[in-house]
């Protein structure tokens, strides 16, 4: 008998080959990303795309020397169906809507008209070059030139945004660059398909051209409408997912992807569809889903988007080394030249035309940033790589695209920061400014920004107001579960996950609350000598540096939202909001000893988020055993957001009177205990331990009770807003250290 003996140890590589290799590639790219941030200085000077391509080059070099071929992963299907959607969804989802819509005209202008200008300009110039016999590229037709031109005009200003952030460019420019990048992709892909289709035709008639132009608009608008539709459907679906929180992120992703695929089915702009879908649904979805789902959605979108982009850059590096290039000095160098030239020209001309329509016109520095910051990126490469094979000079095009990308990413990416800094520095001469100047200037800038926000934007207000009315009256009722009259501050708190602020508060021990520092300063000041300090010039320079690094930037939110490689940074927002709470707390604390005054004082500071209006019903309730009303608020909120109650006990609502009663009558301890327990029965379970602890303190003397009671009085504020059941209302430092059994 011939038996094949089973080996004890087998290797079955072919079975797992494909997933294994994909995983390895992604892992390698992730290691690269980790590696960059180990040494912080690198990422400051060199944009991430540079680093990724370099790593790709190295790996490509290794593979080439081993005579390996890179995995044939980057096919047309793989790119368009799997790799592009996450990138675009990432951009669309994190687009800050308000500034975006306010600059909508400018964004569209630069994205659509700018890309068209670039493509057509480069295409025609290259065609002219082709006619010159010296370069030997006469066989490239006009259509093919246009195709190539559309590929290399897709701009991806990722590195520019990071640089802009540091140099405090004003918000408008920021959003224009961000929006341009987004719509740029859409326009490029549309043009690409258009020219692809046209290039395949032997004879082009005028009628075809007009048809194609019309098609361009249909595709764009169709994508938008489609995306909006899907956005609303998603929002509507999330209305009903109250009981199945786990699948909420999944629904979001599935719907977005579905929008993309079906748009592809109808050959309308899938990028527009998915972007508009993300924009539309974000607003409603973030109200409907739980906090955790919200975080999950953001994290996953960011993760998949950045993985996708990383992989593409990585492949760029690898492919550069390993493929066979067709090199043609003239054509490629001229392509590079024209790309830069037309971009610069385009920005100049377009800005001149649109500046009269803007009352914050783009100055030269802005224009320079826009033009010089036009790095080509992932999309260009993928489009080139996936050109159909019937294009005769496909390899030439690929090589050309790679050259343009590498040049812009490396040279422009690395030099833009110093150049912008140079231009900036020439305008302001910091050493002549006094500290007074800096502080007052910043204060005034914040004031102006605040007043602008207060007035609402002038011109857009009309449309936005109409839309908001429509939104509040109709859309919100349909699409949002448990529709409450929206308090934007509450939404803000939810967004910033301030429920988890307890951990943050614990970390930043001591520095948070303004009051202790002020009080301690008070005391110090009495003891401090009145003699004037001498300030050395080095001290002053240090102060200048301190101020420039630590002063809050104007309208930080927009800037923090558009960083492509990391999640939005909410630290500043948290700090500001936490401080407002502590200032409110201070006022409340002072007021609570006096009873009713607290309510009035809190009105003055209004930083307490009020879900309901701060009406006069509020003050009397606080002092009354209004357990029913307050209780129902707690229960309501605990049903709505059960997982939001952190393990660190959310303080129960505790009317002041009860505790005072407890403190005053020591004798009837048992009776009071009963009452306390009765009152607390309805509160959240985690507080039972606390009540138990409190009662154990009672026999220890009335003076202790008073102090406990007093502490408790101001700690356990009756909260009139069910949504604000977060530990922020506690003052951690001043709490008597009670051992919680958690």
């Amino acid at each position: 008998m011939c038996e094949t003996t089973q080996a004890v140890f087998t290797l079955n590589y072919p079975r797992i080959q494909i997933p294994f290799e994909i995983t390895l590639w992604v892992l390698l790219a992730s290691f690269a990303k980790i590696g960059f941030h180990v040494y912080h200085k690198i990422t400051v000077w060199v944009p991430e795309s540079c680093l990724l391509i370099s790593i790709g080059l190295i790996v490509g070099g290794i593979m080439h020397s081993l005579h390996e071929k890179p995995p044939a992963v980057l096919t047309s299907n793989a790119f368009f169906l799997y790799m592009l959607p996450p990138i675009v969804l990432d951009s669309g989802y994190f687009m800050p809507t308000r500034p975006f819509f306010e600059n909508f005209g400018t964004v569209l202008w630069f994205a659509v008209v700018g890309t068209l200008w670039n493509s057509i300009g480069i295409g025609i110039s290259l065609f002219a070059i082709c006619q010159i016999e010296v370069f030997g590229v006469q066989d490239i037709t006009l259509q093919e030139n246009f195709l190539f031109a559309s590929i290399i005009s897709a701009v991806e200003p990722v590195a520019v945004l990071t640089v802009f952030e540091d140099i405090s460019v004003h918000e408008q420019l920021y959003i224009v660059v961000f929006g341009e990048c987004l719509f740029n992709d859409a326009v490029t892909v549309v043009l690409y398909n258009l020219f692809n289709h046209v290039a395949a035709l032997e004879v082009v008639e005028a009628g075809d051209v007009f048809l194609d132009i019309g098609r361009f608009f249909v595709v764009g608008l169709g994508g938008t409408i489609f995306g909006a539709l899907f956005g609303f459907v998603t929002a509507f679906t999330t209305r009903f997912t109250g009981k199945v929180r786990e699948i909420e992120p999944l629904i979001i992703f599935l719907y977005s992807y579905l929008a993309y695929l079906i748009a592809e089915l109808f050959a309308i702009s899938s990028i527009m569809a998915i972007v508009i879908c993300a924009l539309t649904m974000k607003y409603y979805v973030e109200e409907n889903v739980s906090q955790r789902s919200c975080t999950t959605i953001r994290h996953v979108i960011k993760m998949v988007g950045s993985v996708s982009e990383t992989l593409i850059f990585f492949f760029l590096g690898v492919v550069t080394i390993t493929t066979e290039h067709e090199w043609n000095w003239g054509y490629i160098l001229f392509a590079l030249l024209f790309a830069l030239l037309w971009r610069g020209l385009g920005i100049l001309v377009l800005t001149q035309i649109i500046n009269p329509f803007r009352t914050i016109p783009f100055n030269f520095k802005d224009q320079f940033g826009l033009a010089y910051g036009g790095l080509r990126g992932a999309v260009s490469f993928a489009l080139a790589f996936t050109l159909p094979d019937n294009i005769g000079r496909k390899d030439l095009f690929i090589t050309g695209t790679i050259v343009v990308i590498i040049f812009t990413v490396f040279i422009q990416g690395i030099t833009i920061r110093p150049l912008l800094k140079l231009m900036n520095v020439r305008k302001t001469n910091r050493n002549q400014e006094t500290i007074n100047d800096e502080i007052h200037k910043r204060l005034m800038e914040h004031t102006v920004a605040g007043i602008e926000d207060l007035c609402g934007q002038w011109s857009h207000y009309y449309w936005k107001d109409k839309f908001m009315k429509f939104n509040n009256r109709i859309l919100r009722k349909i699409l949002i579960r448990d529709n409450h009259p929206e308090s934007s501050i509450v939404a803000l708190y939810k967004k910033l996950e301030l429920q988890n602020a307890m951990e943050v508060l614990d970390q930043m021990s001591g520095d948070i609350s303004a009051a202790p520092s002020l009080i301690s300063l008070h005391e110090e000041r009495k003891n401090a000598s009145k003699s004037r300090k001498k300030f050395l010039s080095s001290d002053v320079t240090n102060m200048h540096e301190l101020l420039s690094k630590n002063m809050y930037k104007i309208r930080h939110r927009t800037v923090s939202y558009t960083n492509k490689h990391t999640l939005p940074d909410d630290i500043t927002a948290r700090e500001i909001l936490m401080r407002r709470h502590t200032s409110l707390r201070r006022s409340l604390r002072a007021g609570s000893f006096h009873g009713t005054n607290a309510a009035k004082m809190s009105q003055k500071y209004f930083s307490l988020p009020m879900g309901r209006s701060l009406n006069s019903r509020f003050p009397p309730r606080r002092l009354v055993h209004a357990d029913g009303d307050i209780e129902s608020e707690i229960n309501y909120s605990s049903i709505r957001h059960p997982q939001r109650v952190s393990s660190k006990a959310v303080m129960p609502l505790r009317p002041l009177n009860t505790l005072k009663e407890v403190a005053s009558s020591v004798n009837t301890v048992d009776g009071q205990n009963e009452e306390q327990r009765g009152c607390r029965r309805s509160h959240l379970g985690s507080n039972v331990s606390r009540s138990g602890h409190l009662t154990s303190h009672l026999p220890h003397g009335s003076s202790r009770n008073c102090s406990d009671g007093d502490h408790d009085a101001w700690v356990e504020e009756p909260q009139n807003n069910s949504d604000v059941q977060h530990p922020l209302m506690r003052r951690p430092h001043w709490l008597p250290q009670k051992p919680h059994d958690k």
Partner: protein
């Protein structure tokens, strides 16, 4: 423009308002619309929490001071006239204003703007910026990494630079002198409306063109 006149008539004392503040009719109407939108319950006046509902203002480090500037001490509400008058501080400075000795200074004059800014510091309205008030503002505007000692030295330096009569506080005159630095231009302490949309509604278009003259 016909509709604008009817809206104007609904606002009481609108001519006096326009004269005092220098806003054009179109601006007044826009401000009125905004006022109405903020006044969600239609009471005809605003209270602090109406302002508090503006999300971006909540994110402003000195948001509560700005809002506080609208409410004179003791008052809990703001009516439309006060609203417009305060906002008039932020109109661009009229460069060619004839200097009439008898007429009161316009609200958007340089010195009134400075007074407004001064009030943002001086919360107890005693006419001086004390060291504590300065510290509060600094604390509001700086990130949490700044230690108390650093804050104190910055405050000390600020007072030292500006305080000429050595009373450890900054009076309004000292403030004004400190801001007289040529780099410091009060021309910037004004609102510049954002991008004009390419598609404006017709009734606003003509007023926009008119405003371009004034702004």
């Amino acid at each position: 423009m016909g509709s604008t006149n009817s809206t104007l008539l609904k606002i009481p004392n609108v001519e006096v308002l326009m004269q005092e503040t220098g806003f054009s009719p179109a601006h007044i109407i826009r401000l009125h619309d905004r006022f109405k939108a903020l006044d969600k319950e239609g009471r005809g006046h605003l209270c602090p929490h109406d302002f508090g509902a503006i999300k971006e203002l909540a994110m402003n480090p000195i948001g509560d001071r700005i809002i506080g500037a609208f409410f004179s001490p003791g008052k809990e509400t703001v009516d439309f006239h006060t609203f417009v008058k305060i906002l008039a501080h932020f109109r661009p400075v009229d460069k060619d204003r004839p200097k009439e000795p008898n007429s009161p200074e316009p609200i958007n004059s340089r010195s009134n703007k400075l007074k407004f800014a001064f009030q943002l510091y001086d919360q107890d309205k005693d006419g001086k910026i004390s060291r504590d008030e300065l510290l509060q503002v600094l604390r509001a505007m700086l990130g949490m990494q700044v230690t108390d000692e650093q804050l104190e030295s910055i405050a000390d330096r600020t007072i030292q630079e500006a305080d000429l009569d050595r009373d450890d506080t900054i009076s309004f005159e000292e403030f004004r002198k400190a801001c007289k630095h040529k780099r410091f231009t009060m021309f910037r302490f004004c609102i510049r409306p954002g991008e004009r949309k390419l598609m404006l509604t017709l009734c606003h278009w003509s007023s926009e063109l008119q405003d371009q003259h004034e702004l």
